[in-house]
Each structure stands twice: as structure tokens, then as C-alpha cells.
């Protein structure tokens, strides 16, 4: 009797996982198959490696964004913060008085630390004065961009150390760029945090019912501010990845990155009102956007048309998601 029930629940949870996570994977699979048929070059080692490179930065930012959106918040400042972090890291990296090793370590540390600091401010201000994060991070979007332009005197920084640039172009097993592996590692670490730790449990719980969590004796503000800080931290990491790949730091980087990150999170099935979602979904969402961009280019679609199709796909993905939720709810009822 009991074993039957556990078997039953196991099946149910399997179907649930399928409905929740794999649904979006099917979309990705269809896209991959379709593009492979339409453009033979699509599935070549070089192109796959290319896609991996292209989605890495968005994936990393979207990982942080997932934490914030799971709480029912949003971070619009990530693109500008990326520009600011790049200027700070770029200054450290090109400081002639520092040996290469020290300069690199310093640049990475400063980039992540500044990202986290700005994230902390976003969260702290939003939580202390109860201002919606949409407004706070919209303000921060301007502040960070202005700071980046001010500090850099609106100049681009380049001439990074050779070892730094070399790592940026390293590819393992011919298909896995170094920065993609960093992105994957962050998805894995993030998933472990969300699924296996007390902190992750709190993120989901607060996103679902903040008042209940507060009355259960938890410091809700701490967890919320932490989530914004993590988001800022991932932007700091994404900044370094961008610099590795492009070899420049500029105050005009990252325009529109926040929208790509939010799109990846939403396509991945994370609810904008919080409490529901996963980083696997976010990763798949970023992959879909990358595959679309790359595939449409390969089949010869122009820039403008690509934007239109990408936009349509974002909306379609979310419509699909509501159906998936209904199906899942029906199944569980």
C-alpha cells in the first residue's frame, strides 16, 4: 500500500518536473532541430561553440536576476552596472605600476565587489523605504551609467595583459569556451543554493508569502537585500567575462542587457510575481534566445526581422507557460 503510494508520487513528481522544466526544453530542442535542417552550418563545432560564447554573459546576469525576480522584484540596473564595473576593473587591469597577476586579481575582485555593493544599495533602499525595486533600479541604471562615463571621461579602456586575453579565447574540447564553463558553473552553484540551502528556501518562501515568513520569525529584509547583492555580484562576474571576450572596458557597454536577462528568466518559466521558477529554466531561456539569434542570422534573416521574431518568441514562450501552469495545476488538483 505504502510502496504503491510512493511509486505513485514518484511518477507524479516526474510528470511535474516534465511540465515545469522540460516544457521549455522541448521548445529549445525544436528550435535546434529546425535550424540544423535549415542551415547546415548551424550544428558545426565552430558555430555551437559560438552560441555557447554568445549566451554566457546573458546567462550569468540572468542567474542573478532570477534570485531577484523570485522575490517578486526586478533589477533594471544590471546593464549600466556592467559598464561601471568594467571601467573600475579596466583601470585596475591596465594600471602600469601593478604586476600582471596582481592586476588581474585586483580587477576581478573590484568588479565583483562593486557589483555587489551596488546590488546591496538597490536592495537596501528598496527594502528600507519600501520603494518598488523597479523605481530604485531605474534610478540606479542612470547613476551607474553616469558614474561610468564620469570616471572614464567617456573613454574606452583596452590594452589588457596578454594572459588575460588568452584566457578569454581559450576553448576546451574544441566546443566549450572558458567563459561558458564559468556560466555553467554559476548555474550549478545557483541551483544548489536555491534548492539545497536555507537561503534558497527563504527566497522561494518570501516570494510566495512574505508576511507569513516574517511572522514565522525570519528577518525578511536580510534575505531580500542579499538577493539583490547576489544579483550585483553576478553582474561583476559577467563584466569580467565580457572583458575577457572583447578585450575592452567601456562606459557604453551593456545597454539593454537588463531586458535580455529578464527575458531569459521569464522564458525560463520564473513567475514575475515571485515564488516560482528555477535556474535550469533560466539557462534554457538564455539558450533559446542565443539559439534564435544565431540561427536566424545563419538562415539569412536581417537584423530588424530578427528583433521582431525574438520579441514574438518571448511573448509566445510566456503564453505557453501559462498553459503549462494550467496543465500542471489540473494535474495536481
Amino acid at each position: 500500500m505504502t510502496s504503491k503510494i510512493t511509486e505513485n508520487t514518484r511518477w507524479r513528481s516526474l510528470i511535474n518536473v516534465f511540465l515545469k522544466e522540460v516544457g521549455i526544453g522541448v521548445v529549445l530542442l525544436v528550435l535546434v532541430v529546425a535550424f540544423s535542417l535549415a542551415a547546415p552550418r548551424f550544428f558545426s563545432v565552430l558555430n555551437v561553440s559560438n552560441i555557447f560564447t554568445q549566451i554566457s554573459i546573458n546567462t550569468v546576469i540572468a542567474v542573478g536576476m532570477t534570485f531577484v525576480i523570485l522575490l517578486g522584484g526586478i533589477d533594471l540596473s544590471v546593464g549600466s552596472v556592467l559598464a561601471l564595473c568594467s571601467i573600475i576593473a579596466g583601470k585596475a587591469l591596465t594600471n602600469p605600476s601593478l604586476p600582471f597577476g596582481t592586476a588581474i586579481v585586483l580587477a576581478v575582485t573590484l568588479s565583483i565587489a562593486s557589483g555587489m555593493l551596488i546590488g546591496f544599495f538597490n536592495g537596501f533602499i528598496s527594502e528600507t523605504w519600501k520603494i518598488h525595486s523597479f523605481i530604485v533600479t531605474l534610478g540606479m541604471l542612470n547613476i551607474a551609467r553616469g558614474l561610468a562615463l564620469q570616471i572614464s571621461h567617456s573613454r574606452t579602456i583596452f590594452n589588457f595583459p596578454q594572459i588575460f586575453k588568452d584566457f578569454g579565447t581559450t576553448t576546451y574540447f574544441e566546443v566549450f569556451p572558458a567563459i561558458f564553463l564559468i556560466a555553467l558553473a554559476l548555474v550549478v552553484i545557483g541551483t544548489i543554493i536555491l534548492r539545497k540551502t536555507v537561503f534558497g528556501r527563504m527566497i522561494f518562501a518570501i516570494g510566495n508569502n512574505e508576511e507569513s515568513v516574517r511572522l514565522s520569525g525570519h528577518n525578511v529584509k536580510f534575505y531580500k537585500v542579499m538577493a539583490y547583492t547576489i544579483c550585483g555580484g553576478t553582474v561583476g562576474i559577467a563584466t569580467i567575462m565580457y572583458m575577457l571576450r572583447m578585450g575592452i572596458a567601456s562606459p557604453i557597454l551593456g545597454v539593454g542587457f537588463e531586458l535580455n536577462a529578464i527575458a531569459a528568466v521569464v522564458i525560463g518559466g520564473t513567475s514575475m510575481s515571485g515564488g516560482k521558477g528555477s535556474l535550469i529554466g533560466t539557462f534554457l531561456g538564455a539558450s533559446i534566445m542565443g539559439v534564435l539569434n544565431n540561427g536566424l542570422l545563419l538562415i539569412g534573416m536581417g537584423d530588424f526581422a530578427r528583433q521582431i521574431v525574438t520579441g514574438a518568441i518571448i511573448i509566445l514562450a510566456v503564453i505557453l507557460d501559462t498553459y503549462r501552469n494550467k496543465l500542471s495545476a489540473k494535474f495536481n488538483a
Binding site: 503510494i5 508520487t9 513528481s13 539545497k196 540551502t197 536555507v198 537561503f199 528556501r201 527563504m202 522561494f204 518562501a205 510566495n208 508569502n209 508576511e211 507569513s212 515568513v213 516574517r214 511572522l215 514565522s216 520569525g217 525570519h218 528577518n219 515564488g275 516560482k276 495536481n332 488538483a333
Partner: protein, 517 residues
């Protein structure tokens, strides 16, 4: 047969030739899963009468009103309007039949004008545009009728005071051809002179032939305006009588009823010992009356009083749930400085909120996640959750509390009310506390689950914990508690030991501050 109120009826000032029954309820029952809200209620409303509906919290007043106005459909019995069957399918059909309700919580749109609010359901139109000229003149006419003639119909509702908002609600209710006007606790938030104005208006409406069903906790109002009084208890009709035949003691007796003791366990062997929690001069925002009381180890302390008498607010202040509370709290003689629920929980005080869906459970999450949330430290190691420990802890609660769920990973959303409540209690038992504050722990759950919860309270008491139980169910408090504190209009008006327990005196104490008003 519907009279628009603009055309006064031929009879003089409410004196009717013969009592003309507008609506008749016969043997109405309303059953929800696990709850019998109404049980064979008979009621008739006569033309141009003010009919007072009385009963304790949960006696079935709201259910009856909601059945009348089409929110609920009765599960048994029939309703007749003018002798013909009346079966409103939704609130709109009830409105079209002339039944309007002014609820305790207003349903006004604050950023629209008074006129737009009054005619919101049926804005006068000129072509496809709103005919504002007609809107404002129609509104002004109705506003004059309800005595709201000092403000412009163009005023935004957010600018109005509570009394004026109430008049807007009444004006809205009168904008159609209202035959029955239902007022739910209309005077709860009004000042004495505003109450006088309201009563004058009601007498005027009555004179025009509108019937009024009036729900109130303020018993003294009955004799000022009421023609007949109907008392409900536990979803059943106690009696309908003429107001002139009644006095307050007899009404109280009708409301409370007797012979409930046997449903409640009382363990003579558990006796309260030394003081556990001492509250001195506790004040919370919006209430200037300092409150002091003591809870002893092994004691079940009941808190009686009407909804809105400050019971919940006091408990929340004690728990640090709302900011700006002042006063001293001692636990085992040591003063606590509670500024947040986190503080309170860490010191050993827990609160089970009255609203289990909004503030208690996380409905979208599983039994496990809801159970261990009060003490994640004990099921984790260096911040990592131990799923096995969580499962073990949850299964222990589920079997000890006899919770019925298909599995521990079931979302609490899909559990029944009683089982949800048990999960909520279980989560606090899981983190052992010294003081348990239960706010309405048995509201909306069936008798069997109630009994199990009482037994649980006694188990906690026998372990030397202190228990505070806030409840609107008076027989429950009388049956389960060692001692009862009575709240009335934000003050503590009485403290009774078990041997002094008497439903009438408790009810009198809970009404005492309102009677003086």
C-alpha cells in the same frame, strides 16, 4: 411591484395598514464542506420595517445576508419575494430585485468622484460618452436625500471622511429602486452625532417604505431604531421578536445559549503554576489604553471580545508583528525587548495568526516546507538543508497531529481547512516555544478537528507551556480556558476565573464600552 423611492408610498410615516411581507425565507440551510453555516432558518421582512439581525461572530448573520443578496446559493429551503419564488443567481439579479447591501468594508473607488461612485454600475450616457451633466444632477438629487448636500458630487471619494463615505454607499444603494437595504455594522466607525444623522436617514427611508435589515453589535441601538429583532446562534434561528418586548439581558441570553460544556475537554489535573509571561502597560499604535496581564505556566488564558475590540492587535503588538508598540514584557521575570517577530520567536513566543491563508501558511509550498520554516537551523548543517531530517520532522508532526494529506510534499493549498490549521499549529510545535498565542485557532474548521485542537492545547498546558487563546466562540472559551480576559473597544474590561465564568457577564463586559458610547 417595485416602487422607485422617488415616489413615496401613500401610507404615512411608516405606519402600515397591514404588515406586507416583501421577502420570506423558509427553512434556509447553507452547508459548506465541513461547516453548516445556516441550519433551517426562517425569516420574513415586512415592508417599511427596520429588522435587526443579531448573533455572535460566526452565528450566521453574514451567511444569511450573502444568501439574500445572491453571493451564496442556499443548499436547502426556499426564498419568496412578494409570494413568488426568489432565487438570485448572482449579486446583480439581487440588485435588480431591489436588494442592496452596504458592507462594513466599503466598496468605493477612491479616485473617482462621488457621482461616478453612486452611478458606477449604470452611468448615464449620451451616445457613447458619459452624460456628466445628468450624472451630476442625478447624483445631487440622491445626495440631498441621504443628507450629503454639503459636498459637490464632483468631489473625489478619497477626500471624504468615513461617515460621508458611508452615506455615499447608502446613496449608491438607493440609486436603483431599492426595496430592502441591508446595513452591516454601519455604526462601527461613526461618531455619536454621525450615528444620529444616520438614524434619522434610516427613519426617513423607512417612512418611504424601504425595509432595512440592520446588523450591529451595539445592543442599545436596537431600541432606538429597531421594529423587530431576529437572533441567530450557530447558524440556527433562536427567535424573532418585537423590539419593544425585549431588553438587553434577554437578548444576551438568546445570543449565548447554554449547554455547551460537554463538547470541551477540561483537565482538572493541570493547574497553572508560576507566572510565565507578564505584560505591563502594553500600548500599540492607534490605541491609547495601556493593557496589563499575566500568563502562568500551564495556563490556558482565553481572550474574549468582539471583532475589532483590539484582541488581535494586542497579540500582534506582543509578538512584535507591527511597529510602534510600547510597554514592558517579561518572560520568566526577564524583560524582553521585542521589536520584530524574529525577536519574539527567538525568545520563545509564537503567534498563530487568525488569517491562516494570508499570514500563516505558504499555500503554494509543501507540508514539509511549511512545517520546518520556524526552525530551519535544526534541519540544516552550515546552511545546507538536510532533506532526510526535514522529512522525518514533518512525518512526526503529521502522525502526531493526525493530519490527513496524500503526502508530505503536497501543497498546503490542497488540504482542507482543518488540516491546514493543523499544519500551522504543527509548524509552531516543531519549534518548541514557551508561550503559544492562538488567534481564532478553530475558526472555520469542523467539530472533530476542533476537539483535537483542544486536546493539543491541553497537552501543551500539561507540559508547562503558557497558552493564550483568542476566540470569538464564547462557549469554546468557557469550555477550554482557566481564565478569560474580556476586551471591549480597545480596553480590557474584565478578568474572570473559571469559577466565575458566566456567558452573560462576559457578553456584557464585551459590550460594555459600546453601551456607553
Amino acid at each position: 411591484m417595485c416602487y422607485p423611492i422617488d415616489f413615496p408610498l401613500s401610507h404615512e410615516s411608516g405606519v402600515l395598514m397591514a404588515a406586507n411581507k416583501i421577502i420570506e425565507l423558509k427553512n434556509i440551510s447553507l452547508v459548506f464542506p465541513g461547516v453548516r453555516a445556516l441550519d433551517g432558518v426562517d425569516l420574513s421582512i415586512e415592508e417599511g420595517e427596520i429588522h435587526i439581525l443579531l448573533g455572535e461572530n460566526g452565528a450566521g448573520k453574514s451567511s444569511l445576508v450573502k444568501t439574500l443578496c445572491g453571493v451564496y446559493t442556499q443548499t436547502g429551503g426556499t426564498m419568496l419575494m412578494d409570494g413568488k419564488e426568489y432565487a438570485p443567481r448572482n449579486p446583480l439579479t439581487a440588485i435588480n430585485s431591489g436588494i442592496r447591501v452596504v458592507y462594513q468594508e466599503f466598496n468605493l473607488l477612491p479616485y473617482l468622484s462621488i457621482a461616478e461612485n453612486i452611478f458606477f454600475e449604470k452611468l448615464p450616457k449620451k451616445g457613447c460618452l458619459v452624460d456628466f451633466k445628468k450624472l451630476y444632477s442625478d447624483a445631487a438629487a440622491i445626495m440631498a436625500k441621504v443628507g450629503l448636500d454639503k459636498v459637490s458630487p464632483k468631489t473625489l471619494v478619497e477626500m471624504l471622511g468615513v461617515a460621508q463615505m458611508q452615506l455615499v454607499e447608502i446613496a449608491k444603494a438607493l440609486s436603483g429602486h431599492s426595496r430592502i437595504l441591508i446595513l452591516d455594522e454601519p455604526t462601527a466607525t461613526l461618531m455619536p452625532d454621525e450615528i444620529n444623522t444616520l438614524f434619522e436617514l434610516l427613519m426617513k427611508l423607512k417612512a418611504e417604505g424601504v425595509s432595512i435589515i440592520y446588523i450591529s453589535h451595539r445592543l442599545n441601538e436596537i431600541f432606538r431604531i429597531g421594529d423587530r429583532v431576529t437572533v441567530l446562534r450557530n447558524g440556527q434561528l433562536v427567535a424573532t421578536k418585537k423590539a419593544s418586548e425585549l431588553d438587553i439581558p434577554s437578548i444576551v441570553k438568546m445570543m449565548v445559549g447554554r449547554n455547551m460544556e460537554s463538547e470541551y475537554p477540561f483537565d482538572e489535573s493541570v493547574t497553572p503554576s508560576s507566572p510565565l509571561l507578564e505584560v505591563k502597560n502594553l500600548i500599540y499604535q492607534g490605541n491609547p489604553h495601556p493593557k496589563s496581564f499575566t500568563l502562568r505556566k500551564g495556563e490556558i488564558l482565553g481572550i474574549a471580545g468582539l471583532v475589532g475590540s483590539g484582541r488581535t492587535e494586542t497579540m500582534r503588538a506582543l509578538f512584535g508583528a507591527d511597529t510602534k508598540a510600547a510597554g514592558q514584557i517579561f518572560l520568566n521575570g526577564e524583560e524582553l525587548h521585542i521589536t520584530s517577530p524574529k525577536n519574539a520567536v527567538e525568545k520563545g513566543i509564537c503567534l498563530l495568526t487568525e488569517d491562516r491563508k494570508q499570514q500563516g501558511l505558504i499555500l503554494e509550498m509543501s507540508c514539509v516546507e511549511n512545517t520546518t520554516i520556524t526552525d530551519l537551523k535544526s534541519v540544516s548543517f552550515r546552511g545546507f538543508l538536510n532533506r532526510e531530517k526535514e522529512t522525518e520532522a514533518t512525518e512526526k508532526q503529521i502522525s502526531e497531529m493526525n493530519i490527513k494529506t496524500p503526502g508530505i510534499n503536497q501543497k498546503t493549498l490542497h488540504l482542507s481547512g482543518g488540516n491546514q490549521q493543523k499544519i500551522l499549529i504543527g509548524k509552531w510545535l516543531y519549534r518548541d516555544s514557551e508561550v503559544f498565542i492562538f488567534d481564532e485557532p478553530t475558526r472555520g474548521i469542523d467539530v472533530g478537528a476542533k476537539y483535537e485542537i483542544y486536546l493539543l492545547l491541553w497537552k501543551l498546558a500539561s507540559m508547562g507551556r503558557g497558552i493564550i487563546m483568542v476566540s470569538s466562540d464564547l462557549p469554546e472559551l468557557l469550555g477550554v480556558c482557566h481564565r478569560i480576559l474580556v476586551f471591549s473597544d480597545g480596553k480590557i474590561t474584565g478578568e474572570l476565573d473559571r469559577k466565575e465564568f458566566d456567558p452573560e457577564s462576559i457578553l456584557k463586559l464585551s459590550y460594555s464600552e459600546y453601551l456607553n458610547a
